[in-house]
């Protein structure tokens, strides 16, 4: 037997036992669902007729692009995910999928989502989707996340772009309205993630990620949460204040904003360990509801406007 034959027998290649569910987990389905919803609102707000098949295609591409970003993020963060209790159950730390497999999966989906959106819908939307993936993977994951405490502030732009991509899919341009949606998600991100970082600060410290509570301390983070919440309330009311939406949206945004403000003040005031933990968890949970209800109100108003002439004419 030749040396080559012997070496071939000695090699023990890893045969994947990863199931489809493991690959779906790489796509971060919960994040994806929020991306689809915000993109849907951006699409619904856009003027002009958009064929349902094109709308479905656009949303699918945006969803797959977001999922691809998640897969690439997990491929690049396999080392730190295994050190954090929140992420230790992901497919890579569990050994279900290797980092190169996740990387190949993410790159393939990125390519197909961008090209499909560009070819079938338009290249402004395709380019914006490519930029979103690039920003999340290269700027945020590879750069900001391990480098600065402002990681999620700047990185939040990636999560805020889907409504802009969706608007561009319909119109082929970018306008003020989708930028307002962008701004809402952008200013919502810091209070949301810093609340998480406050009650998961041990996790982030173990992984060596410079989140604000670990770098500037919990008190400075509490103040930043409060300040960003105040800005968020003003930005969230802007679609009404600028005349794009009716008073109903304005009232809902202010009521929700008041809820966020109360919880942010609660986080700022309560410094004792147990009470602080409860306050940050409440703010984190409410912030998800806040964004969902705010965007649902925008969607409801758009749908109502579209249906009103039909109901009135009947």
């Amino acid at each position: 037997m030749s040396v080559l034959d012997q070496n071939a027998l000695d090699i023990n290649p890893r045969i994947s036992e990863a199931e489809v569910g493991d690959y779906i987990a790489l796509l971060k389905p919960r994040v994806m669902s929020l991306v689809i919803f915000t993109a849907l609102v951006g699409m619904a707000m856009a003027p002009g007729h958009f064929h349902p098949v094109l709308a479905f295609t656009s949303l699918l591409c945006i969803a797959v692009g977001a999922g691809a970003s998640g897969a690439l993020n997990m491929a690049l963060e396999g080392d730190i995910d295994s050190k954090m209790s929140r992420t230790a159950n992901r497919p890579i730390p569990r050994g279900r999928i290797t980092r190169p497999e996740a990387m190949a999966f993410g790159l393939t989906l990125s390519f197909f989502s961008v090209m499909t959106l560009g070819i079938l819908v338009n290249w402004i939307a395709g380019s914006l989707l490519a930029f979103t993936i690039f920003f999340y993977v290269v700027i945020y994951t590879m750069g900001l996340k391990r480098w600065t405490a402002q990681n999620i502030v700047i990185g939040g732009a990636a999560g805020a772009l889907p409504p802009v991509v969706a608007w561009a899919a319909v119109t082929g341009t970018v306008d003020v309205e989708p930028l307002l949606l962008f701004a809402i998600i952008f200013f919502w991100t810091p209070p949301h993630f810093w609340a998480l970082a406050l009650f998961r600060s041990d996790d982030y410290a173990r992984a060596g990620i410079p989140m604000l509570p670990n770098v500037a301390g919990p008190d400075a983070t509490r103040l930043q949460i409060l300040l960003y919440t105040i800005v968020l309330i003003a930005v969230a009311a802007a679609p009404w204040a600028l005349g794009y939406f009716d008073a109903i949206y304005g009232i809902v945004s202010l009521i929700l904003g008041a809820g966020m403000l109360v919880l942010a003040i609660n986080v700022y005031v309560r410094r004792e360990r147990a009470a602080s933990l409860r306050a940050t968890r409440k703010l984190f949970a409410f912030s998800i509801l806040y964004l969902f209800v705010l965007f649902a109100t925008l969607l409801a108003e758009v749908v109502f406007r579209a249906l009103a002439p039909m109901v009135g004419g009947a």
Binding site: P13, I15, S16, E17, A18, E19, V20, Y23, H51, V53, L54, T57, L60, F112, T116, L120, V121, N122, W123, I124, G172, T173
Partner: protein, 58 residues
């Protein structure tokens, strides 16, 4: 040499376990479905756009 080979049955390459076969089959089906969706998507959009399928902003 020939006798020794006849005594010991040789396996060709890597033999997959049942779990590996099952997961590979699942993944193959998922890839086939994804490609099918892609084909249907391109077909549907071509039907919707008609001759204007190549006319896009930018």
């Amino acid at each position: 040499m020939i006798t020794a080979m006849a005594d010991k049955p040789e396996t060709d390459g890597i033999v997959l376990t049942e779990a590996q076969k099952k997961s590979r089959r699942q993944r193959s089906i998922a890839i086939a479905l994804a490609l099918g969706v892609l084909v249907v998507l391109f077909f549907a959009v071509t039907m919707v756009k008609g001759p204007a399928v190549l006319v896009r902003p930018m």
